[in-house]
Chain length 134, copies 2
DNA sequence: AATACAAATAATAATCATTACTATTTTGGA
DNA sequence: TCCAAAATAGTAATGATTATTATTTGTATT
């Protein structure tokens, strides 16, 4: 996975990272693609996927699997939790510090070794709550 | 999603549920298919997918999205946590009660309404630890 | 600045998991 | 037994992602 080859910069990869840093909604690969096309019209979708995988393999961005469907990407690599709205499917950050004690608690009765966890909250986002469309 | 149509029994669906109840490793749709074929040789993969979706929509089984790739299914519908091995990818149950306080903590600083969460632990399973293959 | 070579790209094809379609069969109540 | 709804097998289609390949680009070295 994470081969340690020498990276060479490309304006495509730079644009992908720069775009991700402006966003807090954890875009999918296709959302990144649609956005970068505005400035680099002939960028290939494969290039977007390859760079997103390369960057997350190297730990420069986070890959999130919130629904079973498409992965999302996050330029904020600090450990933090996420929320997904059951109605509109939007993904947001949750302002709750990483709970290390969960790893200790779980390890106590686990046969292998637990080193980390991912926590995904579910519910209804504020937008869906106000505009009652159900 | 969850249409409330009258169910009619089928030996295919019965076999799927019965099989899932014998397993604690949260099989994928294809694993279910491969197993059921042993007793119902001409079962269709589409039938397996349709029934797994139908059953999880009705809350009779759980659908798990542990890696970004393929969904897994669990006949144990009580809220509980899971573990995925970073080395072999196996999925196991974690013996830790559902932490309701996490939902309260997260809600305190959240704009919408959080009703539940999913928690996935990561690390190395005991099998990978003993057989050191790296 | 020119050279050289590895890395990156665009474009396309291929793969994998999953869903949709359709004609036929099965189920369970009238 | 009869019938309509539900379920099925088999197949085609979809959507997300990865692989392939010929060409282009970045950067270290002359």
């Amino acid at each position: 996975m994470a081969e340690l080859t020498t990276l060479k910069r490309s304006k495509q990869r730079d644009a992908i990272v720069a775009f991700l840093k402006t966003r807090k909604d954890h875009p999918t690969a296709d959302m990144v693609y649609q956005e970068i096309r505005q400035t680099i019209p002939n960028i290939s979708l494969g290039t977007v996927y390859r760079n997103l995988s390369l960057l997350s393999d190297r730990g420069e961005i986070l890959r999130l699997s919130c629904d079973g469907k498409t992965d999302r990407f996050d330029a904020d690599i600090r450990p933090h939790y996420h929320f997904i709205c059951k109605q509109c499917g939007c993904v947001q950050d949750v302002d709750l510090p990483y709970q290390e004690d969960l790893d200790h608690l779980a390890n106590a009765s686990f046969s292998g070794t637990i080193t980390a966890h991912e926590l995904l909250f579910q519910g209804i986002c504020s937008t869906c709550e106000s505009g009652s469309t159900h």
